[in-house]
């Protein structure tokens, strides 16, 4: 028979390991820690990846989002004494929108109107961005209605004085006493809060949504700001444009076209463009590098564990030289001896690896608690760790086992 019964060799190996419990535990500890580290690191990496993926996917991977922003150079200049009146015009224009529509005929383009008037709730100033949006706007993002309802086409056509608020803002409003069906004041107009939504847009979570035409009709495009002795008019035609293409593959090309339009018509930096897909790609890249670094560190500890095993196995082989000689005298071939010691090492490393999986999995909730994101232990990471610890056993067991197998039986028998 070519191969001896490995089951008996494994049970033999286990018995040998059991006889020297402390030594076995200490030897296993290296692989155990290494595997536990690999499991935890992979879980953290995976968890981070999923969190990022979820957050960015919520922005809509087929979307390109343009926002008007105040350019850095238009901060209010105040000259001492005299009256000053100035008009600043910045951000997206109707012309931009027309050009974008023309350049991307297949894309859905949704326009939001930004209202710059101050927001008050129960007499208190509220820091929030106000957008007039068409009802289709919410379909572009993964929007969740937390309470109440969305805006309807009827709200738009009948010019209903209603708004939605985002979840983050809702919490603040409740603190100021504005509850469901409460009213908030934007400029001098009062609006009824009809719903709370949870949606991810690039600029934070403090947004008030009102019907597009209500915003256009009530507030226009120009705002007036009075500072001591000066009046400033700022005009923004279009607050936000969301372009949604039919397929993710069209995103990069469309983004390039839009960028070219913006570059041609805007001299100053007054429009931001965010492409969730790009964001996702770059985040994924960083994430991958992070995971690689984490796993490399874990792999080094696994390597150290393997060297530890090899060291102990060499000592075990030396300790058992007479036994090796005896087994040879009883008919064991070189290969039988090799297999015997290899199985012992692999048993050691695999049991260590399995325990490491348990410890690593147990450590994930603790690590998650600290990192504030959920670590995810995947079946692949468990499988990978077990295979790796098995390989560690084979690789680092080979040298000691080969040494045992090469031994001359007569010399081994005489060894004291």
């Amino acid at each position: 028979m070519d191969i001896l019964w490995p089951v008996e060799l494994v049970s033999d190996g286990l018995r040998n390991l059991w006889r020297h419990k402390l030594r076995t535990v200490l030897t296993m500890l290296g692989v155990l820690c290494g595997v536990a580290a690999v499991i935890t690191m992979l879980a953290i990496g995976e968890g981070a990846q999923r969190t990022v993926l979820r957050e960015i996917s919520a922005l809509g991977l087929q979307n390109i989002i343009l926002n008007s922003v105040q350019p850095p150079s238009t901060s209010v200049e105040s000259s001492s004494g005299g009256h000053r009146a100035s008009l600043f015009r910045y951000g997206l224009t109707e012309k931009d929108v027309a050009l974008i529509r023309g350049a991307c005929p297949t894309a859905r383009v949704s326009v939001a109107h930004q209202v710059k008037d101050k927001v008050h709730a129960r007499g208190e100033r509220v820091d929030a961005r106000v957008l007039g949006v068409d009802p289709g706007y919410f379909g572009l993002f993964s929007t969740r209605v937390v309470r109440g309802r969305l805006l309807t086409p009827l709200d738009d056509s009948r010019r209903h004085q209603v708004v939605l608020v985002t979840q983050g803002l809702d919490a603040d409003l409740r603190r100021s006493g504005v509850v469901d069906d409460g009213f908030i004041r934007i400029g001098w107009q009062h609006f009824k809060v009809v719903g709370v939504v949870d949606l991810a847009v690039p600029d934070g979570d403090r947004i008030i949504f009102m019907p597009y035409h209500v915003a256009r009709a009530r507030y226009g495009t120009t705002t007036v700001q009075r500072e001591a002795g000066s009046i400033e008019f700022t005009r923004t035609d279009v607050g936000q444009v969301v372009v949604q293409v039919a397929d993710e593959n069209e995103v990069p090309g469309t983004a390039r076209v839009i960028q070219r339009i913006l570059d041609t018509h805007h001299r100053v930096y007054d429009v931001t463009m965010s492409v969730p897909l790009d964001l996702l790609r770059s985040k994924q890249r960083t994430q991958r590098i992070l995971s690689l670094v984490l796993v490399s560190i874990a792999a080094i500890s696994l390597l150290v564990g393997g060297i530890g095993i090899m060291n102990i196995m060499l000592a075990i082989v030396t300790e058992r030289i007479p036994e090796i000689g005896l087994r040879r005298a009883l008919g064991a071939r070189r290969r039988d001896i090799l297999v015997q010691f290899l199985i012992e090492t692999v048993t050691l490393s695999t049991v260590g690896g399995a325990l490491g999986c348990l410890v690593g999995t147990a450590a994930v909730p603790i690590a998650s608690h600290w990192l504030e994101w959920q670590g995810v232990v995947t079946a692949q990471s468990i499988l990978l760790s077990l295979v790796v610890s098995w390989i560690v056993g084979v690789v680092f067991g080979l040298a000691p086992a080969a040494r045992a197998a090469r031994m001359d039986p007569v010399t081994a028998l005489r060894h004291e």
Partner: protein, 220 residues
């Protein structure tokens, strides 16, 4: 049955050390042969060569007219397990295995199934009077009991030849006597036994004795 023809064994240390010098020996089926000689005379080397553990530098070794000195390690190991049973001065039992498992060990390397190994080990242990101690581990046994276990291990494969290297060397004279009596009994049952011994008393009772001095063999 076993034939050594012009066996020479030299070691390449310090300009060549000759341990066995042109040794010729024929051992027949059912013989009980004693090998005596001072330490370092080459007795053990001869025993190891007969037991296929060591290779002669030159000369021919055959078992039942089959030359075996040129086989490779693999064939030699298999043959060794089947043809030869060893009994050592220091017993050489595996400490972590039970008495029964120690006896089963040579069968394990022959690929004998577990149940059959158990049965054959039990029979061999009965033959040496160790049935009651089957489940003990070597550290729980007396010297005599350990040597009986080792003899059972040598018997279990039904070998053509039992080689005993000073089997009484580590035992007191009474226990040693028991072991000698046991070997005597096995010889009586028709087994071929070669024993190295220092003990003139034991040697004087053997039917055939050869002396080795400085690697040369002389029959008395």
């Amino acid at each position: 049955m076993i034939s050594l023809q012009h066996i020479t064994k030299t070691y390449a240390v310090g300009g060549g050390l000759t341990v066995l010098d042109d040794v010729c020996l024929e051992i027949g089926q059912g013989e009980y042969l004693g090998i005596v000689g001072p330490s370092g005379s080459g007795k053990s080397t001869m025993l190891h060569i007969m037991g296929l553990l060591d290779r002669p530098t030159s000369g021919q070794l055959s078992f039942n007219d089959r030359p075996v000195h040129a086989l490779d390690d693999r064939e030699l190991s298999t043959l060794r397990g089947r043809l030869v049973g060893f009994v050592f001065q220091s017993f050489h039992l595996v400490p972590q295995l039970s008495v029964s498992e120690n006896v089963e060990l040579p069968l394990f390397y022959q690929g004998v199934p577990r149940r059959e190994r158990r049965e054959r080990a039990a029979r061999a242990l009965a033959e040496v009077g160790m049935s009651a101690r089957r489940r003990h581990v070597p550290s729980q046994l007396s010297g005599g009991e350990r040597q009986r276990t080792a003899i059972a291990r040598a018997l279990v494969t039904e070998p053509a030849l039992i080689l005993a290297d000073e089997p009484t060397g580590n035992l007191d004279s009474r226990t040693g006597g028991d072991i000698v009596a046991l070997l005597e009994k096995l010889h009586g049952e028709g087994r071929t036994i070669v024993m190295i011994t220092h003990d003139r008393e034991i040697a004087s009772h053997l039917p055939r004795v050869v002396h080795i001095r400085d690697g040369k063999l002389e029959e008395s």
